[in-house]
Amino acid sequence: MFAYIMRRLAVAIPTLLLLIVFSFVLMHMAPGGPFTQERALPPQVIANLNAKYGLDQPLWRQIASYLWGIVANFDFGPSFVYPDRTVNQLIAAGFPVTLTYGTLSFIAAVVVGVGLGVVAAIWHNGFLDYLAVGISIGAQVLPNFVMAPILVLVFTLWYRMLPGGGWSFEDPSYWIMPVIALGTSYMASIARITRSSMLEVLGSNHIRTARAKGMPEHRVILRHALKPALLPVISYLGPVFVSMITGSVVIDVYFSTGGIGKAFVDSALNRDYAVMMGVTILVGALTILFNLVVDILYAWIDPKIRY
C-alpha cells in the first residue's frame, strides 16, 4: 500500500509539470495580452509593463522563474489584471468560498443520492423506484445555469426567504441556493449508481444467505448490503470533484460568491496569465490528491483489490 502511494505521488509531479507547461504555452499563444486595451498604449508603457511582469523574457525563462517562485516562496506572482493584488491573495480570497459550498454540495449530494438510490433499490420496480429514477434523471438533465436563476427568482423575489447572492461564512442562508444548484446533478448520478449497485448486491448469494438465516431486513441492508454497494459510488467521487470546480463557475456568476471558478474563466478571457496558472495548478494538484485518496479508500474497503 505504501509503495503504491509513493508511486502515485511520484507520477503526480511530472503530471503537474506537464500541466503547467502546457497551460503556459497555450495561454501565450492566444491573441491579445493582458494589456491589450481599447486605447493602444504607448510603446514605452507597454515595455515597462512587460518588464515589470517579466513578459519580455523568452518563454522557457518565464516558465522557469515562475516555477522557481512557487517552489522557493510559494509565490504565484502578481495578478496582471488586478494591479493591487497578488495571485496568492486572489486565491486565498476565492478558494475557501468555493471549497465551502463545494464540500457542502458534495455532502448533500452523497447523502441525498445514496438515500434515494437505496430506497429505489429496496422498493425495486415499485412506484418509489420509478419516482426516484425519474427525479434523478430529471435533476441531472436540468442544466445548473437554468436552475440558478430560477432559484433566485423563487427564493429571493417571490418568497423573500434567501439573499439573492453574495457570501458569508457565518450566515447559512447564503449557502443554500449555491448548494442546491451545484449539488443536484451529482445527487442524481450518485442515486443512479447506488441504485444499480445496490440491486446487484441485493441479488447476491451472501444476502440470500443472511435472509435465509432469518436476519431482519433492515439489518441485512445496513450491515451487509450497504458497504459493498457503496464501492462504485466511491470510485465516482474523483470525477465529481473536478466537475464541481468547473460547475462552480455558474454558481459564481449567478450568486456572486467570489469563488475560484469564475476567477479562472475571467483570467482566461482577460489573459491574466498569473491567475490562470495559479488556479490551474491548484485545481490540478487537488484533483491528483483527491483521486489518490479515493483510490486508497476504495482499496481499503474492497479487500479483493491489491496494489
Binding site: 434523471i137 442544466p143 483521486n291
Partner: protein, 308 residues
C-alpha cells in the same frame, strides 16, 4: 454525470466470455431490449427528435436568421407561439422564429454529441485495444499516460483551446471529443486483455497474421457491445458539455445556434413574460437526454442480463 465503470467492466467481462458465434447472443439481446419499455420509449423519442432535426426546416415557415420586424420590440405581446404568423414556437427577443432556430439548434447539438462521442469512441477503442493487445511495457506506459491525462482538469484545457484557436465548429468537436476517450480506453483495454488469450486469437497469431490486423479484425469487433453502450451514454455528456460552453459564450457562432445557447438566452428572459423562449429548447434538450439515457441503459441491460 457518470458512466459507471464497474457496470461497464461487468458487461465487458460477460461479452468476452462468449465468442461471436452466429447471431444468437445478439438476437437474444435484441429481444430483451425490445421488451424493455423504457428503452423502447427512449428509442422512439430519439427517432422523433432525429426526424425533427432532419425535416423540421421544411416545415418551418421562417428561416432561422430572418428578423420579423412586426414582432421585434414587442416580443412579450406579439412573439407568442401562434399558428397564424408561422411562429409555431414563438420568437426570440429579436423576432427570429424560434421553431426554425430550435430545429437548427437540435441539428447542431445532436451533431456535436454524436461526433464528439464518435471521436471519443474511435480514439479510445484503438488506443485501449492496442495497449491491451501489445501488453508489457508499452501497455504500462500507455496507461500511465492515460492516468496522467485524467488528472488534468479538462474543462480548463477546453476553455484554453477555445480561447486560443477561436470558435469554430471543428475546434468544438475536437475539444469535446478529446475529453472523453480516456475512460473508454481503459475499459477497452480491460476487455482486450481478457480477449487476448482466447483460442481464435492464438490461432490467428499462429497463422502469422500481423498484430495490427489481429487488433482490427478480431479484437475490435468483439468490443462492439461495450462500445455501443458507452457511446450511447456518452452523447448526452457531450451535449451537456456543449451547453456549458455555450453558457460561457464560447460556443457556436451566430447565426448558428445550439440548445445550450438557446436555453441560456431563454433562461435570461424567463421573468419577462416570454417563457416559451426557454420552454421549447429546454423541452427538446431534456427529452433527448432522457432518450439517450434510457436507450443506453436498455442496451446495457439487454446485453448483460445479470443486472436489472
Amino acid at each position: 454525470m457518470v458512466i459507471e465503470e464497474r457496470k461497464m467492466q461487468s458487461l465487458a467481462a460477460r461479452l468476452s466470455q462468449d465468442e461471436v458465434r452466429g447471431r444468437s447472443p445478439w438476437a437474444d439481446a435484441r429481444k430483451r431490449f425490445v421488451r424493455n419499455k423504457a428503452a423502447m420509449a427512449g428509442l422512439i423519442i430519439l427517432i422523433l427528435v432525429g426526424l425533427f432535426a432532419l425535416l423540421g426546416e421544411y416545415v418551418a415557415a421562417w428561416s432561422n436568421d430572418e428578423l420579423d420586424f412586426t414582432v421585434m420590440g414587442q416580443v412579450a405581446q406579439m412573439g407568442m407561439p401562434s399558428l397564424q404568423n408561422g411562429h409555431y414556437f414563438g420568437t426570440d427577443d429579436l423576432g427570429r422564429d424560434l421553431f426554425a432556430r430550435t430545429v437548427q439548434g437540435t441539428q447542431i447539438s445532436l451533431m456535436v454529441g454524436i461526433v464528439g462521442a464518435a471521436i471519443a469512441v474511435v480514439v479510445g477503442t484503438l488506443y485501449g485495444a492496442t495497449a491491451g493487445y501489445v501488453g508489457g511495457r508499452t501497455d504500462q506506459f500507455m496507461m500511465r499516460a492515460v492516468d496522467i491525462l485524467m488528472s488534468i482538469p479538462y474543462m480548463f484545457v477546453l476553455i484554453l483551446l477555445l480561447v486560443m484557436f477561436g470558435r469554430s465548429m471543428s475546434m468544438l468537436f475536437l475539444g469535446i471529443g478529446l475529453i472523453s476517450w480516456l475512460d473508454m480506453s481503459r475499459i477497452v483495454r480491460g476487455q482486450t486483455l481478457s480477449l487476448k488469450n482466447r483460442e481464435f486469437i492464438e490461432a490467428a497469431r499462429a497463422i502469422g497474421v500481423p498484430a495490427w490486423k489481429i487488433v482490427l479484425r478480431h479484437v475490435v469487433p468483439n468490443l462492439l457491445g461495450v462500445v455501443a453502450v458507452y457511446a450511447t451514454l456518452l452523447v448526452p455528456l457531450m451535449i451537456l458539455t456543449e451547453s456549458f460552453i455555450s453558457f460561457l459564450g464560447l460556443g457556436v457562432q451566430e447565426p448558428l445556434t445550439s440548445w445550450g445557447a438557446l436555453i441560456s438566452e431563454g433562461a435570461g428572459t424567463m421573468n419577462y413574460g416570454t417563457l416559451w423562449q426557454l420552454a421549447f429548447p429546454l423541452f427538446f434538450f431534456v427529452i433527448t437526454l432522457f432518450g439517450f439515457f434510457f436507450v443506453g441503459d436498455g442496451l446495457r441491460d439487454a446485453l448483460d442480463p445479470k443486472d436489472r
